[in-house]
Symmetry: D2
Subunit: 351 residues, 4 copies
């Protein structure tokens, strides 16, 4: 049984992680860290936790946690995962950061976009970007996994077959994404206040969202470009949609050569053949976010717009599932040599 | 392994039943019946079904089904469950009807409210009303279970401690319930059309909803009254709320004698002590529907309104969970002598 | 042209008041008070305000306001309306308080339920409870109007025909209300955070909501009981529904004598005959909140439940319309001897 | 007083048109045509219509209508507006078609995309594309106006300053739009069934939506290209968002030369200077759909993404307002030489 510790369990990602791990046959949560909630029972705080859960929130102490756990998941604000990573490494354990501290191989990019000095740059360089379908082998050998952001997960899985096979112009990637509001976290704000957010569509972070450099780095990794290389800038425009969960990314891309629908369909099906969590939809279906709620799936459709000579890619995930907690468990499964679908064989909640 | 057959699997209740059974360690779906979808793969039709599900919809033949299955779940329109019940009985198997055909011990009530002749009145009389927390022992011995309606489940669990202990005036029970729109089924209608239903509250079925006699019969059963006795009429007013899932029933009740909050709280906690799926909330929480999505829980709070001398009971469930498919699986667990929580140890999807 | 001043214009009620007054042919906003926003243009702050609005927020000074305005609307937190009422009276102007400071003729009730000392009890006693359909004549002669709360408006209009005509047992009034979340104001809170509030039904304030004594006082006024009389306590249970606007109150009431549907229908139609804003729905319709958005209507249906011998009353309003700003403008029209529908001849926004 | 006739008044666009015209000081509805509802009172059918509206639905007879009305609005399915246009022309009246029959100057495009033969091609050629901000002068002289589609309105207003001034590569226009579900009409369908549509994002019509050629024609008109010229194909991907009203279009565009934020901001502000209904947002705000509900505004923001060298344009409207009924009234005002804002000086319903 893998002994699991979670820091930041009171947030949405931490809660989803617990929900998945409660049903995981080979993992058991042994440490739930939360400064503000220490001493309280988890089931008394989180209304969706079943009554037979006897876990209590504890003071989140990195070393104590590393001692008692085989793996630590950090779902924490920027900067806060570092002491847990250091403690995990010292104790020979592994860390999966669902926050943002270990996603960038180039610490300078992290520091520029997140506006703080990275406290452990050498650890960051040893961390691996945890998108299993694209970088599975490197994850298997790592001790620190930077779990990808929600938007980058949907975007990179949607772009990978085209980028890997040089089928599009890299300098003309524009991404329009919409997300449910849980992506903005559990803290009430005007943009998430239901009377403002319901029946509303709102762009935000235009030309400056922090997932931009993460997507660019993902493309570099896909193409095998060294860390010091200059990334090709992409354009990324996120929006809020009036719902709790789900991300849909839509991309109109410019082909490098001749294409047909059949070629593109085959390209995607071949690329993801055997992948349990990526579903390439056929001619009669398009991705929707609702059926993915609570799952680790990514649904992708590719369409050839012959009139406009553009490749349209649509990629949907649950931002808290494949976009956060589900993918983190998938990474844990890889690190512990379990079948990747262990504990993730979940059907979506529908409707 | 319990071999399970499902009729009406393409509806919301059937879909939720499959979602739960996919994770059930002692049951396996072997027959998925749907006339209109026969020959198609379940995962090609239902977008929330995982890709590793290889089930196919088949012609729903009662006898073939009874032969191949240990238990048949019917999630069918009124009247349609009867042939499956007959076949199950012939083959010595069991039937759990999530529809309305086997909820009434008095067939005349069924016929009056549902407007059709019951094709197998003697089977109906042998059926048991499947609300486990209240009628567990009778369920254990039955072969045909009439799974309760969604509203009656929330109402009867909320009322039972008071009714059993004669703490309220039976002739003054008034129930106001709100339900998510999935309760009205998967067929598009004006009242479920999002532009009409979103941002709307709508009463319906005032003074005539078919769950009224079911609640009245439940109260008779609770009080041990014989089938031929006249029920005490209750008032039940259902409403639609702009959401997919969830039921909240609120009842202002008239006490038979002196009450205090402490007494009422103790009454409810004692009544449901040891019940895994009924949670009596403490002073600091009130039932909400959202955390219950995907679960088999019923959350209840009782409050003594000393000024107005009324007992306020609020009871929340997932209409597709404890109100339908979850409760059906709980009944199956009882019938097959499994721990009642088997396959139902699910945390709610939140947010 | 009536010169209007508004205090608290940055909240939802203030915003709705401006929206209505922009289209009012005989009133003109001349003073928009907001401490925090003083100096900013209204259209730069409130995104729904048209670009041709040149109003600026000003420091809210009671005397300056009373000098420049014919009527002051206060949409302010408890206690804050008093200085404006005093200034209005000094200057011979009128005040309509959409807050809670002038709703109670018995200051002790206000002080007990709102937890603060009333700074101008004698003004409070001279104020009139501004529910025009029930107390029109008294409003006409007043200088200070306490605009009713949203829930009490829906409840009192729904109950009035029965209470005035002694058709129900007064000691058995139980009210279940659901409200859109704008009723809780513009400040983000966990209960209004979309990921918590969407797809959720939540009771709150059980057996202690501050609209309870307001409803009780309304019933006293209806029955002509003196201020010092003891009110009959009612039971009132409010809930939040996952939507922005709208209130639906449902009441199962106990008849004092024999009733029929025809009698009740006639009672309601007669009682409200000629009232422009109360619509008694016929046999084929039930109140819904959505079509009322942006209007000053109250839609009411009454049904006789012959089986359970109960009268079911359902009453719907827009909580920001008839439940706040619309009714405030209706009161202004009365005070200034305008036709009551002036500026309120608005169709609902639908869908 | 302009005498107005409406065909298709029972749909959402027809309903919104009535809502606006009820408040129009110079227009009066005299004929409301609906085959299925003939003989019924409008206020008995449409729940948002005020009780003082005494209009009745009548058999929609083109000639009778043309005789009694100064202007006919058709909100009808494809093909159905033609007889009204013919009758209007015969009688010397004007027709504004909010449907699709008079949007295309090249009838072959209409026939190819809409799949039916145009019954009056010469009338279609004389019709004018009714986007006032771009083609005001031609509208003024016309008798038949093809009111633009909802998506094209948001897109063309967003693109016009760049296209007119040749600031972008025309062959690289990709548009991602999201719409509320009222855009799909009042007929219930699976994609609009609340349990399927709530909490869901759904693309549709990928690479084949009928608004594609309308946008392309709009760009041709903007550039003064003759009807027989070949349009530059654009890529347009619409989506459904879980809400009733509103469209947001987002476009990442490729600059023809050097740009700065200041230049782009000035370009847009200059282009739309004096336009009452187009609001170019400043640096601190981005378009949102919610504040536009019930209005005729189009809110646009333009951003220079210096890293990716792309121009991001976001354009929001109410699909039933500026995207349909509001714009139709604006066109009527132009045709009848009224100030364009007459009857459209409406603040948005918020929240």
């Amino acid at each position: 049984m893998i002994k699991v510790g979670i820091v930041g369990a009171s947030g949405y990602t931490g809660g989803e992680l617990m929900r998945i791990l409660f049903g995981h046959p080979s993992a058991s949560i042994v440490y739930v860290g939360s400064r503000s909630l220490a001493g309280q029972r988890v089931r008394d705080v989180l209304p969706a936790v079943p009554p037979w859960c006897d876990l209590e929130f504890e003071e989140p102490d990195p070393d104590r946690m590393a001692e008692r756990c085989d793996v630590i998941f950090t779902a924490t604000p920027r900067g806060a995962a570092v002491p847990y990573a250091e403690a995990a490494v010292r104790a020979g354990k592994v860390l999966i950061d669902i926050g943002t501290d270990f996603r960038f191989r180039d610490v300078a990019v992290y520091e520029a976009w997140y506006g703080l000095r990275h406290a452990a740059p050498e650890l960051s360089r040893r961390a691996v970007y945890g998108l299993p379908e694209l970088f599975r082998e490197r994850i298997r050998e790592s001790r620190i996994v930077g779990n990808p952001g929600c938007y980058p997960t949907s975007v990179l899985l949607g772009l990978a077959p085209l980028v890997k096979n040089e089928r599009i112009h890299l300098d003309k990637i524009s991404i329009i994404s919409y997300s449910g509001i849980s992506g903005a976290g559990a803290t009430p704000k005007p943009t998430s206040h239901l009377p403002e957010a319901a029946e509303n569509l709102q762009p935000y972070g235009v030309a400056g969202h922090r997932h931009t450099p993460e997507i660019e780095q993902g493309l570099q990794l896909l193409r095998g470009e060294p860390p010091e290389s200059e990334p090709v800038p992409i354009s990324f425009t996120p929006h809020l949609a009036p719902m709790s969960r789900g991300i849909l990314s839509t991309m109109a891309l410019y082909p490098a050569g001749e294409e047909t629908q059949e070629q593109l369909q085959a390209l995607y099906e071949d690329f993801y053949r055997g992948e349990p969590f990526v579903r390439i939809l056929g001619a009669d279906r398009l991705p929707q976010t609702k059926p993915l709620r609570g799952t680790n799936f990514c649904d992708i459709a590719v369409r050839w717009d012959a009139r406009a000579r553009r490749i349209i890619v649509m990629s949907a995930i649950d931002n808290l599932g494949k976009g956060a907690a589900g993918q983190a468990v998938q990474n844990m499964n890889i690190l512990f040599n379990l079948p990747e679908t262990t504990g993730l064989e979940l059907a979506g909640l529908y409707p």
